[in-house]
Symmetry: C2
Subunit: 337 residues, 2 copies
Amino acid sequence: MAATIFDVAQHAGVSIGTVSRVFNNRDRVHPETRERVLRAIRELNYQPNALARGLASQQTDTLGLVIPQVNDPFFFEIVRGVEDAASAAGYNLLIASQPRQPGEHSYLRLFHRGHVDAMVLVAIDVLAHEVQAIIDRGVPIVLVQQDVGRNIPTFLADNYYGARTLIEHLVDVHGYRRVAFISGTDYTPDSRERLRGLRDVLAERGLDLPAAYITHGDYLRGSGYRAMQKLLDLPARPEAVFAANDQMAADAIIAAQARGLSVPDDVAVVGFDDVPMASYVSPPLTTVSQPVYELGWQAARLALEASREDAGARPITPRMVQLPTTLVVRRSCGCAG
Amino acid sequence: MAATIFDVAQHAGVSIGTVSRVFNNRDRVHPETRERVLRAIRELNYQPNALARGLASQQTDTLGLVIPQVNDPFFFEIVRGVEDAASAAGYNLLIASQPRQPGEHSYLRLFHRGHVDAMVLVAIDVLAHEVQAIIDRGVPIVLVQQDVGRNIPTFLADNYYGARTLIEHLVDVHGYRRVAFISGTDYTPDSRERLRGLRDVLAERGLDLPAAYITHGDYLRGSGYRAMQKLLDLPARPEAVFAANDQMAADAIIAAQARGLSVPDDVAVVGFDDVPMASYVSPPLTTVSQPVYELGWQAARLALEASREDAGARPITPRMVQLPTTLVVRRSCGCAG
DNA sequence: TGATACGATAAAAGCGTTTACAGCGCCGCA
DNA sequence: TGCGGCGCTGTAAACGCTTTTATCGTATCA
């Protein structure tokens, strides 16, 4: 088996308490003793057992991350941000997927079993009072791409402003007046906020947004195709279609082209997210870039900081942070390459 | 704080030993007592502390997963497979990235600190003897998209056969005779195997593969573009280009189109992996589909099984498993839509 | 020179489980 | 009636750490 603290203590001729003090730089230890202990640690390749350490110190040096069970590069990018922040802080990362059956909440289990010091929940359908209860018991939780109010810290891209900029481009630059929407799922705020951006820009210019122009997708492959078909069947075909993410926008383009329509000449299509695929579809997608990696990174940072300041007087942490989005103009809106 | 086993014992009027027996279904407990304990567990919402449990039982119910620090949807798909297998078996998933500096090996730390019962290493640059040592100490390790011999279990897609099928399609169906290659990184076997497939098919047909036709990429965005430029500068321009993954193939297409060349009329381009993007680029990519999710899933299953059979006489586990690949014909090879 | 304080270390008490072992009541059998 | 065995449950020792408390020299001061 691996060397334990006892082995090191024996090897260095000290007690285990001293080894612990040296390893954690706690209290003062005579320089000479410290040197002996360090040598023993090196010689035995000692690494403290994480479980024992967690049990004794009541902290696990582990960050919990819960993500939806969906294959979207968007989430992977968040995972990368979270992972980087965690490992930079010397934390491990424990990942759980939101289970399929809606009743079960895996983040509760992570908490109850004492696995983690803090949690980041990405686009997860949470129970606000449960989350609040966990935070109150000393395990900080930060939400990403989700907002349930109640003073629970939240990191979001500025979906509303991003959508506004995008629609303003369509309306003010290209002069489109009939703009339709393909929504995503509804339990996180992003699709709603993007729709609100669309709605407001149109309203401010006195343009109409008929109910039939709002179709429903689920962010996943295929749903954009079906929604686009419905829109193209409409008597008053939209001049531009705003899909709530790039995947659906890419599918919408395919759907239009399958009918022999040209994008953007017959109908413009724009998306949201700026995933890698966006620049490779034809025509390349005009979309809105979100700082996804950064979102994960900052959320993880906040969660970890909160877990460490737990005892002391903690500074006021932000209730909500919106990160800026950027309009990425390519060709699917009608602009020239 | 959360309820402990003591609270439950007191609440049910039994000893902690009995609570533990009930919770783990070990030994026999009087039905009536069991009922009392179960009620107490329910009423207190008791969940055993994972650390204490791991410390006492010497098993953590946690699977370690190490992936390269790269943003590739390919890896995310593997993560999903591994996660599903782990959670189906009641295991948690601890994720670590291969650190940037080549000297450090995060999987060693996971092992040494007793975090995990088993590990899956994906496309990681490992030290064979270290891995062997860990396995010998009772923590099973399974490699994915990597092979270092030494009886270390390995899951791979059948890269060689996949490449063969792809090249046979180019040569035998389309009649291309000048086929070039854009390689990936070299520390995992996949790029090498794909090149071998290309080489063998050409050789069997008496076709030449000049050294200049083998260019070097790194699987990442951008490198396919540069490699393609070199190929197009060649006096004898290749008729078809085989990129070792789809990302580079997509970039190669862009590079060709930037020169006013038509794909596939002037030069055909094919890739490998069949990532989501492949069907959206223009022309849609002919490529080879790998069972990526399945790769992760099966690797995790094997690792977990091995960790549980540890004590008993374990059946012979496979040294290497190759999963089948499928040719996906789209338009970038010259086939009609 | 003897009481005092202090720096350094050892000893021991948890942390919350699992599990080996002991104990107890009761039944069946000689 | 006495005793071995069995079904059930309590007790206590690990597991490998952290952290509090106790101890022991040694230097300091009156």
